[in-house]
Symmetry: C2
């Protein structure tokens, strides 16, 4: 039974990093988020793919108990993204974005997805996020992610969307851009004024920060020696966070702290191999071990 619904892209990526290159591999914000969430809960995806989408990728998602009935399949080509990372691995440089079947995507939410514990609106056009949210009958908790492209091109829609969610995820450069300040504390306070109860700012290798009414949580980054491909780290962070919350049904600040550390653990694993290759080959015990290490290495 689906307990977390994830809206986002399912696509095929070409990725080049200083440590290698892959072409046409499984990617997309909903894919990373759902696979990450599947360590904790039973995700269903809302997305769209073309008739060229590989059968084996569908089988892989099903093998993770991910429900695919919210994925529309239409004639045409699946969404494709291509990008590369330079040596600091901090920021993806986009080389191509072929929307293909994603152009004009206006999803209908399956009836059995309309009453769900957690809704994760992963990175897509905020207009589509709004359209999905409006179809929901009941959700206990709504998490939303976005990206710089929407801040630049659809800021008004994005701000309207932010007002409607419980938890907003931004990375540090998005937070600075959206609120016109270099100071992340000020950016987070501005974001809270819009309505969300929780703001999480993801800072890559530097961990993440949560801000809520009068409280602050500082989560560490996992000290990775081997970072091969950061693609999908933000999405798998959001997916694990939302999945953990759905599995525990506890949306308190205290439990969100734990969710963030689990999310950091999963995201750090994700960076260690290309595409979803690392997440494919680890289990919850592996993630729990990393969670414990993260507890230990910040004790004082």
């Amino acid at each position: 039974m689906v307990d977390i619904v994830i809206l986002g892209t399912v696509g095929l990526d070409d990725i080049k990093t200083p440590f290698g290159e892959v072409k046409g591999v499984l990617g997309g914000s909903a894919t990373y988020a759902a696979v990450a969430a599947s360590f904790f809960a039973n995700p269903g995806i809302i997305s769209i793919i073309g008739s060229d989408f590989p059968e084996e990728s569908k089988e892989f998602l099903k093998s993770r108990s991910i429900d695919l009935k919210g994925i529309k399949i239409i004639d045409g080509k699946t969404f494709r993204w291509g990008g590369y990372y330079e040596f600091d691995m901090n920021e993806a440089k986009t080389l191509k974005t072929e929307l293909n079947v994603l152009a004009g995507f206006s999803p209908e939410v399956p009836n059995e997805y309309r009453d769900v514990k957690v809704l994760f609106l992963a990175n897509v056009d905020p207009k589509v996020q709004m359209h999905v949210l409006e179809q929901m009958k009941k959700t206990d908790f709504v998490v939303m992610d976005t990206m710089n492209f929407w801040i630049t091109t659809k800021k008004e829609t994005l701000l309207r969307m932010i007002k409607k969610v419980d938890l907003l995820l931004l990375n540090d450069s998005e937070a600075r851009q959206l609120f016109g300040t270099t100071n992340l504390v000020i950016a987070a306070k501005e974001a809270l004024k819009l309505g969300p109860k929780f703001i999480i700012i993801k800072k890559g290798e530097h961990g993440s920060l949560m801000f809520s009414d009068g409280t602050h949580f500082n989560a560490p980054g996992y000290p990775l020696e081997n970072t091969k491909d950061p693609t999908g780290c933000g999405d798998s962070f959001g997916g694990s966070l939302a999945g953990y919350l759905a599995s525990t049904e506890d949306y308190s600040e205290k439990n969100i702290r734990k969710a963030i550390v689990f999310a950091s653990a999963v995201a750090s694993c994700n960076a260690e191999e290309f595409s979803l290759n690392k997440l494919k080959n680890i289990d919850l015990a592996h993630i729990q071990k990393r969670y414990s290490e993260m507890k230990e290495f910040r004790e004082f």
Copy 2:
């Protein structure tokens, strides 16, 4: 009785940030480090100043129980530095460096400083750091800082110096530059191979990381909303760390974790006003409160 000896510069700074501008204010690596250390211990400074050094600054240092007998006063002008910060406040851009009396500085360590609990070699020419270390009869623990300028101009001397200390402080860009890698975990492991038992990488607002034999500690940054002038934050971090260690006489990894959090607390205060103006007006209770907050905001 002096229990921590600090080698570094004592100077006068011109500083411009997006939040204001000051000229000819008290500065220098040993000044910031000693004032920060004075919250915990009794520092003595090894440095050199000119006959133009303001009497009131000397009086201020004495009022903090900082011993000045290691500061040589000669005819001429005091060391002067001028720089500015852009909006991100991450990196000082140097506008002028007038060595003045610092040129040819070859300090003689006073006899009563030669047997001391902690020696902090703050940022100066590594040749001068070596010269001071060679004059010591006994020290329980040696902490060393440096800067990018010495990595570029005196790398060989710097590497020889690093081999002789217990704890090396670097900021993240220095660590990446010195070891030719963007990965801080790899940089820290290379640094440990040189000899120090502990490597601390300072990451400004992102906190700091400690690496030791098989252990890792992740320290948070304090969430500052009001950063006016980051000058001396690295020096006050090093000074408080060394001061706390001298006051506790416990050089275990466990105690260094606590020292790092105290150091972060002091450094974060330092950024809130120009020059040493904030450190002048707070007491240990203020720092302890920030220490407790830092404990609370990383609990999970």
